[in-house]
């Protein structure tokens, strides 16, 4: 027997007075976006046909690239190691600086007093400014200051990562469970004990995971930094390109691909383990 169902009419959607204007604004925004995409296609000289035409002139390069020069592998491994080391030291410096600062940039610890709010705003601003500086730009600057080599790469990655890690760390602190904090206070714990025993154990896995991830990202970034003279395998890659030694470029590409992929997997696996704890 079919179930009798009373017909239910949806009540009319409430219309706010600005709804009409909002709709027009939406349409205008959409039209402007489409127009801008069209303009961008023209101004970027977007033309797939060029790619096909260029293929034939690149035949000579391609013939070299499919024959990598393995005689330079030892030298490249050394440089790849330097790239990883640049990323490691840059990340470590960033951890050491951003760790204490991140507590000063956590809302739940700082917004209680006017001084706290001022410090919070200042540290947040520092993080935001540091994040805004792209590592490549910083590296150009540091190469001018301290000369070509791995050290400007370390400085560039370190400074930029302070902003990134500081933001992630402080957000992890903001996400803690307040219960254990209250428990430490109730035991007679002072401010330091609250941080060291109530907060730190809660955020340690997240801090470790963020740090590993940052190192992983910094390895990839430090390859690019080499191209502006900040050490590592990227610097050599640029040289081979300038000297039109494409079989050596190919060796470097393959090595970078293997190492970056392997480290990516390792970092992901480590972070998964930390997440499961």
């Amino acid at each position: 027997m079919p179930v009798e169902r009373a017909q239910v009419m949806l009540p009319p959607r409430p219309q706010s007075p600005g709804a009409r204007i909002a709709r027009i604004a939406w349409w205008m925004a959409l039209v402007m976006l489409v127009a801008y995409i069209a303009l961008a296609l023209v101004q970027t000289e977007f033309n797939p046909l060029k790619l096909i035409a260029g293929g034939s002139s690149a035949r000579e390069i391609l013939s070299q690239i499919i024959h990598p020069d393995w005689s330079i592998l030892g030298k490249l491994l050394k440089l790849m190691n330097e790239t990883v080391e640049i990323a490691l030291i840059g990340t470590l410096i960033a951890i050491i600086i951003s760790f204490p600062l991140s507590f000063l940039a956590a809302k739940n610890l700082m917004l209680g007093t006017p001084l706290g709010r001022a410090v919070y705003a200042l540290v947040r601003l520092i993080f935001n400014v540091l994040r805004a500086f792209e590592p490549v730009l910083l590296a150009v600057l540091f190469v001018l200051m301290v000369g070509i080599g791995p050290f400007p790469g370390v400085l560039a990655l370190g400074l930029h990562s302070v902003g990134m890690l500081g933001k992630l760390f402080s957000e992890a602190i903001e996400g803690i469970n307040q219960g254990p904090v209250e428990a430490i206070q109730a035991c007679g714990g002072n401010r330091f004990q609250v941080i060291w025993y109530g907060i730190l154990p809660q955020i340690a896995p997240a801090f470790l995971a963020f740090s590993i991830y940052r190192w992983d990202i910094n390895i990839r970034m430090s390859i690019v930094l080499g191209i502006v003279g900040a050490g590592g395998i990227g610097y050599m890659l640029l040289q081979y390109m300038n000297l039109l030694q494409y079989s050596k470029v190919a060796t470097a590409f393959i090595l970078i691909l293997i190492v970056v992929t392997a480290l990516d997997y390792a970092s992901a696996a480590l972070r998964t383990r930390l997440g499961q704890r």
Partner: protein, 251 residues
Amino acid sequence: MPEALLKVDNIAHAYPDGTKALRGLSLAVAPGEIVSIIGLSGAGKSTLLRCINGLVRPQSGTVTFAGKAVAWDARTLRLLRRDIGMVFQHFNLIGNLTVLTNVLLGRLGYQPSWMQPFYRFSAQDRDIAASALEKVGMLREWHKRASELSGGQQQRVGVARALAQEPKLLLADEPVSSLDPLTADIVLGHFVEIVRGEGLAALMNLHTVELARKYSDRMVGVRDGRAVWEGLPAEATTGVLKSIYGDEYAG
């Protein structure tokens, strides 16, 4: 009646959002006495306990503990909190740390200063923690991470942490309301047994009248931030409970 261990005198507190949690509440707890507080959610029970150990500072009224009025400087508060153990509704253990370390945190109030090496506790502290774990029947689990335990086990560890403080008074804020009824009865029964065995005093917020009747020497009914009734468990008649919980209370 012996001199009270804890005296709460006419305390009032309103939260920044304007909620008046307490409106002039008074009560007293004698040494060795187990008092339970009953009342609706939002009646002010949790705020009351937090005013006693200074987690919340009442806007007026006084709290007197062991003959001394509670002052609000950091040092006095630290000494006060050391003498008052607290057990929480959601246990408030640190999940990433072991059972033993969680219990050792009860000793933090005794560590001389913040320059103490972190996560290092004296042999004496470890003895105290082990004996607290034994009392709650969790000694064998000392090496497990707190997050691996069941709710009932976590609250036992919460009790052990409070005991490790070697307190004079235990505050329990709905200690068993997040456990199933059977486990709740077992854990609370064990808690009360330990409190009596050690000759401690306890002030507990309880979420059911049944548990309060069964496990306390005296009951206090709180409604709208005031103590509206107090008496022996046997005196908590339906009429009395209606005056605490409202006319909808059905016995």
